[in-house]
């Protein structure tokens, strides 16, 4: 037992966490006694400090800091790669530095939170199936939809893209791992900490946080202690995001294989490069907004208290300066996935490769100039509205370039309409709808009417569910054979797609209508006139929920007993498919040299990369446009 507690792992994490609580208790009571604050023991104070500090003790216990601390204390550090790569399933529950293990850890943990967050959505729809009160009180209802959004944004869409890229990106650029493997492990382990903290808020006195995922002040400042779980959990999720983004940037800039110029990079790499730029610039802003809330709550700083010179609107400006770019953080990696899937399954080069890359960068730049379009009715200065409307509408241009280029990629291809391709094509149609309603929302006179209604709910689900989630499914099905070495069940994959696609639309399309007709969002009760549509929406949403169980079954069973996939089942040119499935522990036995563009389908004898020991003389073909 004592030996187990000395070793990094779950026993030590538990012991350290308990120690952490005791330290926080001592800190709180000690300071209160020293400054003669009555009562000396205050559970809220202890809880608040614990939320900030116990996660650090947990991360230390599980082993995230061992190497660094040993190095910093001047002891000899032997790196024998003992914590690199997984030899059994148990290794997935330990701190590991292999990007492939971390990728799968990310993906699995994110899906756990997807199912929990999806379950919350079912509860929301059950309550809304009919007007009046069904089975939860208003406080619980507000908590459920707040946690639904928070989990799916911070613990699912953002991290699962980081997970997919973690697995695929180093392989794609011919790198043996990420640039900072230990930082990579730390980034991952902060996620479950954040997610569990959010869920634990249900147990807090006064209920879970219930101010929405936007947590507008002063509502979030006055709310019961459950709100602190959100405020602090977001810090950990944000720190994880920033660390991963830095890791991606350094990896992409410094670790590309010989010959991998920027314009020979697959678009998924470009997409993650762009996303990481967004993350490192924008994420500190949400951290700031939440720090201000916690300082207001715990220490009476009055950032958002107008009676003492605070400014309520400032919260929204700082919050949206992150949270609008966050929309692209949740979309650009998906754009990358779609480009990979389309080129490979349509057997054609991506149409207009360079414009595809440049439009990503254009979205990054424009993404920082539009945040106040979330605030057209907030009471901010009127003049800001027109410039923000124009910049917002302009984003439709680079986004349109991407959509039209994807459609042109399909043109005259040899289209293999299998599961990843169905999700990709479904994504383009649904995302086009979400983009159109987005342009409508940018138009201030219309936005004044539909802001904060179900029209917004419809729009964000068309871009985040029909958009992001569809790309996630496309990507998971596409790289499943690479990650597991096995093939999924194609039939179940297709059933999953069609059920989700149809009932997704039945769920969210009518929300446009009831929104314009006047149903506000975030309400547990609504006027009688919306009853019929809400019943239809609720029933359809349950089918969407059930269809995800088909996905779960397919993934689990195929992972265990699916047929061998072989190294390159899609006959793709990019580097990750030129190694075994799953790849060797350090990815490549020989360093690949990149000799051409990533999507030279249809060019006879074209290859993207060659390995030092490969026999045939390569036919070097540039990405015509690209070289």
């Amino acid at each position: 037992m004592a030996a187990k507690i000395r070793q990094p792992g779950w026993y030590r994490a538990l012991a350290f966490s308990i120690l952490g609580v005791l330290v926080c208790l001592a800190l709180s009571t000690g300071l209160r006694a020293a400054f003669a604050v009555e009562p000396v023991y205050d559970s809220t104070s202890v809880l608040q400090i614990s939320l900030l500090m116990v996660p650090l003790f947990f991360l230390g216990g599980i082993g995230c800091f061992d190497y660094w601390l040993r190095w910093a204390s001047g002891r000899t550090v032997v790196d024998d790669h003992a914590d690199h790569g997984a030899k059994s399933w148990r290794d997935y529950f330990k701190v590991n530095t292999d990007h492939k293990v971390i990728g799968i850890q990310y993906i699995c943990v994110s899906f756990v939170f997807m199912f929990i967050g999806g379950l919350m959505a079912m509860l929301v729809r059950a309550e809304l199936a009919a007007p009046g009160r069904q089975f939860v009180d208003p406080n619980t209802f507000n908590g459920i939809f707040s946690i639904h959004a928070t989990l799916l944004i911070f613990l699912f869409v953002i991290p699962i893209f980081a997970g997919i890229a973690n697995y695929v990106l180093p392989l794609m650029i011919g790198a043996p791992d990420m640039a900072f493997p230990r930082l990579n492990a730390l980034s991952f382990w902060m996620l479950p900490v954040a997610g569990v903290m959010m869920l634990l808020s249900f147990l807090a006195p006064g209920g879970s946080f219930a101010a929405g995922w936007t947590a507008y002040a002063p509502l979030s400042v006055d709310a019961p202690i459950g709100q602190a779980f959100f405020t602090i959990a977001v810090q950990f999720a944000g720190a994880s995001s920033i660390a991963t983004a830095l890791n991606f940037l350094v990896t992409i800039i410094t670790m590309r294989a010989p010959g991998m110029t920027f314009f020979r990079m697959p678009l998924l790499v470009w997409a993650n490069f762009s996303t990481s730029l967004l993350v490192v610039i924008a994420t500190p802003f949400i951290a700031a907004s939440q720090f201000m809330v916690i300082l207001d709550r715990a220490l009476g700083f009055n950032f958002f208290n107008p009676a003492n010179g605070g400014d309520v609107l400032m919260y929204q400006h700082v919050f949206w300066f992150y949270s609008h770019p966050a929309v692209y953080i949740m979309m650009l990696p998906g754009f990358g996935i779609i480009s990979e899937v389309l080129a490979t399954r349509a057997r054609k080069p991506i149409f207009g490769y360079r414009m595809m890359a440049f439009s990503l960068l254009a979205i990054v730049l424009l993404g920082f100039t539009v945040w106040a379009h979330h605030m057209f009715v907030s009471g901010m200065s009127d003049w800001i509205r027109i410039p923000m409307m124009i910049t917002t509408a302009i984003i439709a241009i680079p986004t349109g370039i991407k959509i039209f280029s994807w459609v042109a990629t399909l043109w005259r291809g040899v289209l293999k309409m299998d599961t990843p391709m169905l999700w990709a094509v479904g994504f383009i149609a649904m995302f086009t709808l979400g983009g159109i309603s987005g342009v409508m929302l940018a138009m201030v006179p219309l936005d004044i009417h539909v802001s904060d209604t179900y029209f917004i709910v419809a729009h964000i689900h068309y871009v985040l569910f029909g958009g992001s989630l569809f790309t996630i499914f496309a990507g998971i099905y596409f790289w499943f054979p690479k990650m597991t070495g096995r093939m999924f069940n194609e039939r179940l994959g297709k059933i999953h797609f069609w059920l989700t696609f149809i009932f997704f639309n039945v769920t969210f399309a009518p929300m446009h209508l009831i929104g314009v007709q006047g149903m506000p969002r975030r309400v547990s009760d609504y006027a009688e006139q919306f009853a019929t549509w809400n019943m239809i929406i609720s029933i359809a949403s349950f089918v969407v929920g059930l269809s995800s169980l088909i996905f779960l079954y397919n993934m689990i069973v195929s992972w265990r007993t699916g047929p061998e996939a072989g190294p390159n089942p899609w006959n793709s040119l990019t580097i990750e498919w030129q190694v075994s499935s799953p790849p060797p522990i350090f990815n490549f036995d020989a360093i690949p040299s990149v000799v051409g563009g990533p999507y030279e389908y249809g060019v006879p004898g074209a290859v993207h990369a060659v390995f030092a020991d490969s026999k045939p003389e390569p036919v070097a073909v540039g990405a015509s446009e690209a070289d």
Partner: protein, 343 residues
């Protein structure tokens, strides 16, 4: 052929979208231009969506992999500068046109009100609106909003606690009520009738129930109503009728929907009323030592004293305005009897 199908599909799509009954009734001067703007957006949007999907469906139909084509690749087309220029410029032109239209419309609907425009102060509190109309005889307070038809009105919107949003869907009007600042909006009601006032910004527990009404009246009728409201404010409360107990119980379990008073039972457990909610403290337990005066104080001034484990600012602090004096008296009597076992 693809073009023909796209045109037909676009026309069908536009007709379908325009035929849907999207908006609530047009109750104000700004409603019609906004609804027209929506129609324009629909007419522009549908062909774009149809073009994208038609191209994709056509490609899938025409070029999906047939048996024997498993090892075939498509032609290596890398792009077309001409096409790329077209699909950059066309959306740019559309966007420029739409934003210009929207900007002109916005300037129109937010034009400054004429001097002497009637002013209504709209105050949001958790979880109700109260309205204060400035009249020659002084300000008139009401829990329902009354407006005269075809006369411009300016709203000064404020909040006493958290952010609310003052929305009348029939007016197409919406603006946040922000603590610390006054936001404004002006328009002219153009239709007689009673319309919903909705809070559109999540403001806490009772957000969904923060719904009241605005009634638009003819000028004569409006004058009468306002005079009545002004008189009522000064008059003593009428004596309670015989059905005090029934009124008290009704207030407890159903609140006063007319003014937006939230039902006590929505949040509190009280055995006699059969309510079991746990958002607020259990009244059977916490009111044992309180008399009628104490209970009244807790209802009209709920933030003064907070039961341990609960938070300030959750219970509506507006019962003094959303319930009449007789209603409050009946409610207090009912609660008093219930918790002390006399009822």
């Amino acid at each position: 052929m693809l073009l023909a199908i796209s045109v037909v599909a676009s026309v069908v799509g536009i007709i379908f979208m325009l035929a849907l009954d999207w908006f609530p009734e047009q109750g104000s001067s700004i409603a019609a231009p906004i609804d027209t703007f929506w129609d324009v957006l629909v007419v522009v949007s549908v062909p774009i969506f149809v073009a994208v999907t038609a191209m994709m469906l056509f490609s899938i139909w025409r070029w999906r992999q047939r048996p024997g084509e498993e090892d075939l690749d498509g032609p290596p087309i890398h792009g077309s500068t001409k096409l790329e220029v077209i699909w950059t410029i066309v959306p740019t032109v559309i966007i420029a046109a739409l934003t210009t239209y929207a900007a002109i419309l916005l300037v129109d609907i937010q034009s400054a009100p004429a001097k002497g425009t009637r002013v209504v102060n709209v105050n949001g509190v958790q979880f109700a609106w109260d309205f204060e109309t400035k009249t020659a005889a002084g300000p008139v307070k009401s829990a329902k909003l009354y407006l005269p038809i075809n006369e411009p009105v300016k709203f000064n919107v404020r909040s006493a606690d958290v952010i609310h949003d003052f929305w009348v869907p029939a007016f197409r009007l919406k603006v946040d009520a922000v603590p610390g600042i006054t936001t404004t909006y002006n328009l002219t009601p153009t239709k007689l009738g009673t319309f919903e006032v909705v809070c559109a910004e999540l403001c806490g527990l009772g957000h969904a129930y923060m719904r009241q009404t605005v009634t638009v009246l003819t000028a004569e009728r409006y004058a009468t109503v306002m005079a009545g409201l002004a008189k009522q404010a000064g008059a003593p409360a009428p004596a309670a009728g015989a059905s005090t107990d029934a009124v008290g119980k009704q207030m407890f379990v159903a609140g006063n929907p007319a003014t937006g008073a939230t039902a006590c039972g929505a949040c509190h457990t009280m055995k006699a009323a059969g309510t079991t909610a746990t958002t607020g403290p259990n009244l059977d337990e916490i009111l044992q030592a309180d008399d009628a005066a104490g209970i009244m104080e807790m209802i009209v001034n709920p933030n003064k004293e907070i039961v341990a484990g609960y938070s300030k600012g959750i219970m509506p602090a507006n019962y003094a305005t959303t319930m009449t004096k007789p209603q409050l008296d009946a409610l207090v009597k009912y609660i008093d009897q219930s918790v002390h076992g006399e009822g």
